[in-house]
């Protein structure tokens, strides 16, 4: 027996190399989604031509720029929510927060005559405050994040509506507004590509890198994987939680602003559907509840898949009404598929 420190076995010559990065990339959820995306592209390049006619062209640059543009608003919502879910939290209110930001912008500019940049600042600040409120209630009152943000999602539209009173005092469901500067910003293009969409893409990359490669990002995974263990190695989960909720809300605010400038109108419930798409995309992309796994790459591919499907079916002449239920059904199928897949390896992904 004697000393058992150190060893001279063959394994000491192994440098315990990490799995080849390509192999690792293939194991993430993003990869099957990429494949799915490719398959969709192929399918939609052919099918509409047959079904609708030769003018129904899917495979051209414009389609993809459109897809990118369409997913930019959702993308902002997804980034915020995705980071939260990875760390073990959830935000069901960011759709409402985004809508609020849009309303503040619209009312500020058209009804109150603020300069556009003032309205933008106020909108972003307001979003941040809501995020802060969420964080306070969740961390100090220790209520489940799910319920708190749900309650917030019910409460915020009321605030939006309050802001959107017109001159006579009636509450407008939707506000139209025009502001050339804002529209110029929202719709600005570099070539075929919408600038704002490119910015969102850049944000995905930035946040994705932060999540995957920085100390901070790693901490999020640890928190989400085992909060007690994270605390016992000195991670300040409260501070991180505050940051994430505020971050999510601010990103949602930006989403609302972007949406408002593009569409020319704002309303209290405008972004709620997008919020759910965002969460769906994140889950499809491998970010699971209970935290600790997945990444923004997967989430991004999730949105891409959902939007491509929407675009493709639109070009195929299908009713636009079917896209929303389709992504809901897609999520359910993906979850079921995941269940049958992983229950074999006994690592249950119970969302």
């Amino acid at each position: 027996m004697g000393k058992v420190s150190g060893n001279l076995t063959a394994s000491s010559t192994n440098n315990y190399a990490k799995v080849h990065p390509l192999k690792r990339a293939m194991r993430t959820k993003a990869f099957p989604l990429l494949v799915l995306f490719a398959l969709m592209v192929i399918f939609f390049s052919i099918f509409p031509q047959i079904h609708v006619g030769p003018h129904a062209i899917f495979l051209r640059a414009r389609t993809f720029w459109r897809i990118l543009e369409a997913l930019s608003v959702t993308g902002l919502l997804t980034i915020g929510a995705g980071m939260l879910i990875v760390s073990g939290g959830i935000d069901l209110s960011n759709g409402s927060v985004g809508s609020l930001a849009g309303v503040i912008l619209a009312t500020g500019v058209s009804a109150n005559g603020w300069p556009w940049w003032v309205a933008v600042i106020v909108a972003v600040l307001a979003s941040g405050i809501v995020g802060f409120l969420n964080a306070v209630i969740i961390n100090e009152l220790k209520l489940p994040a799910f319920v708190v943000t749900l309650a917030m999602a019910a409460a915020i539209p009321a605030v939006s509506l309050f802001m959107s009173r017109n001159e006579i005092g009636t509450f407008m469901g939707q506000i139209n507004f025009r502001n050339s500067t804002l529209e110029a910003i929202g719709r600005h293009r570099i070539g075929e590509a919408n600038t704002a969409a490119l910015v969102v893409l850049a944000l995905f990359v930035i946040y994705g890198v932060i999540l995957a490669r920085t100390k901070f990002g790693r901490t999020l995974y640890l928190m989400g994987g085992n909060r007690a263990a994270a605390r016992l190695v000195g991670i300040n989960e409260k501070r991180i939680s505050y940051f994430l909720y505020i971050n999510c809300a601010v990103l949602a605010g930006l989403a609302g602003l972007l949406n408002a400038t593009r569409v020319g109108l704002a309303g209290a419930q405008v972004l709620v559907g997008e919020q759910f798409t965002g969460i769906t995309a994140a889950i499809l992309g491998g970010i699971s509840f209970g935290g600790g796994s997945g990444g923004l790459g997967g989430a991004f591919m999730g949105i891409v898949v959902i939007r491509t499907f929407a675009q493709g079916t639109a070009i195929s002449g299908a009713s636009p009404y079917l896209t929303a239920p389709a992504s809901g059904a897609l999520l359910l199928l993906a979850l079921a598929f995941d269940y049958f897949n992983t229950s074999r390896t006994n690592k249950r992904l119970t969302v």
Binding site: I85, G88, G89, I90, I138, N139, L141, K142, L143, P144, A145, F146, V147, V148, L150, A151, M152, A153, A154, A155, I156, P157, A158, V159, S160, L161, F162, F171, R227, A228, E237, S241, A268, Q269, G273, F276, I279, T280, I283, F289, G290, G291, S319, Y321, L322, T323, A324, P325, A326, S327, G328, A329, L331, L332, L335, A336, Y339, R348, T350, V351
Partner: protein, 344 residues
């Protein structure tokens, strides 16, 4: 500790909510004295019917430890199916209603498959289902309001007992009484609460939480259908993007349940308290309307009510766990506790 009967405990929740409702009533009357007229009371009761019926869908599931968020969309879809089928086939409305209700049951079964069999998180599954159902409803109607010409049915919504109480309200009241009775007095009803209260103990006692929750999901689907159909009588139409979807009565029922003492974590509560919760919330909503505030302000108040009710519930829950000798749920703060995922 002196004996205090469980019924007394519940009655006190009912009593508290009654008092709150009375206060709301009083304040509203002070501000707008003219509001207490037959028209308003009838409208108020009409609203209570729709929200209240959802109690019998949402509350039992909640008691057994599961959340269902698909109710309102199910109601919308049922409404659409009901009206479109009726207008298209001319079959007697009773038969068409039955078909729509059966559809609701089938959807409930699908929910049960994902949540109970696959053990996925109830909140995500039912939310996804909600988008699917709402989307199908929109697709079927192309978002066009479809009128319902079944006067023998729709006229029922205009019959008022004592000139004030809508017939539907009587129906709703009877429904609540029946469900209340089932939950309180039958072995099945008691097993519902037992499953939510302590899954392990329930299984040790020979109960089958999976089977019970599946039944409750089917029930939830059917009840949602009934709500949708009744609503179509009130509005004489089917509207995929209308008030039923917007107001999310199932959420109101959910909040009312928690206000009324049904624990978010399952295992306690009764319909009586939830009923008073509905009364309070609907009264509040109507009062705001009377005072000229937009409907969405109720969202604000509901949100606040939900938070308050949850805090009380959470405190009660940690007290319960302490008494059981267990450390309190560590994952309550900051984490995404999903109580709708009662492990089956």
């Amino acid at each position: 500790m002196n004996v205090s009967r469980s019924r007394m405990f519940l009655r006190s929740k009912v009593f508290q909510l009654l008092v709150l409702s009375a206060i709301v009533f009083a304040i509203t009357t002070l501000i707008s004295p003219g509001w207490v007229n037959p028209h308003n009371i009838r409208r108020l009761m009409d609203n209570m019917v729709i929200t209240g019926i959802f109690l019998t869908a949402v509350a039992p599931l909640l008691m057994s430890g599961v959340i269902d968020f698909s109710g309102s969309s199910m109601a919308v879809l049922s409404q659409v199916i009901f009206v479109m089928l009726f207008e298209a086939t001319g079959l007697p409305w009773g038969l068409v209603a039955l078909i729509a209700i059966i559809c609701g049951g089938v959807i409930g079964l699908i929910n049960a498959f994902f949540v109970v069999k696959l053990n996925l998180m109830a909140f995500i599954v039912t939310m996804a289902m909600a988008t699917v159902l709402a989307g199908i409803a929109s697709w079927l109607t192309r978002n066009v309001i479809t009128p319902l010409n079944a006067t023998s049915f729709t006229d029922l919504s205009t019959i008022w007992v004592f000139d004030i109480i809508p017939v539907f309200f009587i129906f709703f009241a009877i429904l609540i009484i029946i469900y209340s009775w089932i939950l309180m007095k039958t072995t099945f009803g008691r097993s519902v609460i037992m499953c939510g209260g302590n899954q392990t103990a329930a299984r040790l006692a020979g109960l089958n939480p999976k089977r019970i929750r599946t039944i409750l999901f089917i029930n939830s689907g059917m009840i949602a259908s009934i709500a949708g159909i009744l609503h179509s009588a009130q509005t004489r139409s089917a509207n995929a993007s209308g008030g039923l979807g917007m107001n999310m009565p199932h959420m109101t029922a959910f909040i009312a349940s928690i206000l009324g003492g049904v624990s978010f974590f399952g295992g306690s509560g009764a319909l009586a308290g939830a009923f008073m919760g509905v009364v309070l919330i609907e009264l509040l909503a109507y009062a705001l309307l009377v005072m000229g505030l937009p409907a969405a302000v109720t969202g604000l108040l509901n949100g606040i009510l939900l938070l308050v009710a949850m805090t009380i519930d959470q405190v009660a829950m940690s007290m319960r766990m302490k008494k059981l000798g267990l450390k309190s749920h560590g994952s309550g703060g900051g984490g995404a506790v999903m109580p709708g995922t009662a492990k089956t």
